[in-house]
Amino acid sequence: MLRLGLLAAAGAVLVFLPFWVPSTWQNLLITTFYYAYLGQAWNILGGYAGQLSLGHAAFFAIGAYTSAVLASQYAISPWLGMFAGAALAALLSLGIGYLGFRFGLRGFYFILLTLAAAEICRLIALHLPLLGGYTGLFINFTPNPWQFQFQGKIPYYFIALGFLAAGSGIVWLLQRSKLGAYLVAIREDEDASEALGVDTFRYKMIAYALSAALTALGGTFYAYYQYYLQPNTVLHINHSVDIMIRPIVGGAGTILGPVLGSFLLELLGEFSRTYFAGGMAGLSVAIYGVLLVIVVLFLPRGVYPTLAHLMRRRRPGRAT
């Protein structure tokens, strides 16, 4: 009951929030929601199934480029194109997953495989004229909602919030399903899971495809929020790190982890930009890095699990 009330209150605040805050804050909130959504998508594979991917930028970019090219070349609305992008991303993930999981790559070796796949995608994108190559791909602004293009930030705010709510909803359902229980079992001990009848190959493939498809949908949002795609931005390893760092800081394998991580890192980034920018070049980034190291060092399981643990200790009567 208390939870439901809190959720309703938070929902009400979020609906009115964009109308109260200045435009820079709107932007901050949109970025927060959208990275929380991407974190949620990454979390399915990395947090629940325990298969760390350092190449999610590839799926993101496939989503972004597919919907942009389908819209500009074939006049297909990004609202439909985004699902084509999701399907393509799922297909690529199944290819990478087949290679990795069939040959038993685990841990670091799987990470390297995902990284290499994303790098290959970046090099291909740099040399494909269709995607604009080095110059990048510009999207013409025509304020038409059917083209996923809107005047002002407020529509984007609600779309990003909708993405986050839907992504979190999927993870919420996952946690209550057989699939979710199997993914967590695989993360904990793959051989023991196999012995208990879990087709570990199949379930890892499902997690990968789901994670990739959701990430690609987020790519479409980015394309029509930024109106510019460049391989060295969207397909760079830094971007893969951006996607994975929030759920890791917030608490991988928990539903609130990506959300909390995204809020914290966005605030941290804004704080270091506001107070340390303008002086020495790069100081704000260094401060951001130091703060990040502190978080990871002192809260190795992530912020949310640590908080939840402390809360339980303070209320010993309510064990959950």
């Binding site: 057989k178 229980a181 904990e188 001990d189 009848g197």
Partner: protein, 246 residues
């Protein structure tokens, strides 16, 4: 009619013949003990039967179907489940959640799986620890969890790999009673065991492995008197003590 039939199964790792032309039958409802010194190939034989390893030669048939080439989850889905010598609980899941994973092999929905899991925890005496995390369990409880999780899959055949190892005599006695109770529910059991008290108490027949080969098989009483078994595994003292005790 044998439920599990292993015929001429071999497995070599490089030059090491871990299991060499081993054959045995396991009848429905039977409890068969598998003993032998360390490195005799017992666990390798388990790996071969449960799909973790593929035999170099020989056949494994279960209920008339060949298991060679199947993966462990396929073997489990057909009704044969194994436990691990070193218990492998899912450390960051609760005890209940550990068993739910096993139960989901039988049912598609969590609610039914939870009901099965609770029943298995009751049976194995872990009901009081349902909410504890896997990593917080003591060794005897880990062994019980290993059993509960395997049972939750609803097996016809249970392959137990040294469930008694590391337990004190009281705990061993309790676990023997539990394995008997499981057998009493109609589960066919193949057990690897070093604790002779458990082997003698539980097995209807015993198979003795040494250097990857079967050196003796028969009733527990026959096997412990077999000179080859005494030399390879039990030692003279044991034989004297056992015979003297009778």
């Amino acid at each position: 009619m044998s439920l599990l039939r292993v015929t001429g199964v071999s497995k070599a790792f490089g030059g090491l013949r871990a299991v060499h032309r081993v054959s045995f039958d396991l009848a429905e409802g039977e409890m068969l003990g598998l003993i032998g010194p360390n490195g005799a190939g017992k666990t390798t034989l388990f790996h071969l039967v449960s799909g973790f390893l593929r035999p170099d030669e020989g056949t494994v048939t279960y209920a008339g179907e060949s298991l060679v080439g199947l993966r462990p989850h396929d073997v489990c889905q057909r009704g044969m489940v194994r436990t691990f010598q070193i218990a492998r609980p899912f450390l960051r899941l609760t005890v209940l959640e550990n068993v739910v994973v096993g139960a989901l092999e039988r049912v598609a929905h969590r609610r039914e799986a939870v009901a099965i899991a609770e029943e298995m925890l009751e049976l194995t005496g872990l009901a009081g620890r349902a909410g504890s995390m896997g990593h917080s369990l003591t060794l005897p409880d880990r062994k019980r969890l290993e059993l509960a999780r395997a049972l939750a899959t609803g097996p016809r055949v249970l392959l137990l790999d040294e469930v008694m190892a590391g337990l004190n005599p009281t705990e061993t006695g309790r676990l023997i009673a539990l394995v008997r109770a499981i057998h009493g529910r109609g589960v066919t059991i193949l057990l690897i065991e070093h604790v002779m008290k458990a082997v003698m108490a539980l097995s209807q027949r015993v198979l003795v492995l040494n250097y990857g080969e079967v050196i003796a098989k028969g009733s527990p009483e026959e096997v412990v008197r077999d000179p080859k078994v005494i030399e390879a595994y039990l030692g003279e003292d044991f034989a004297g003590a056992e015979v003297g005790a009778e």
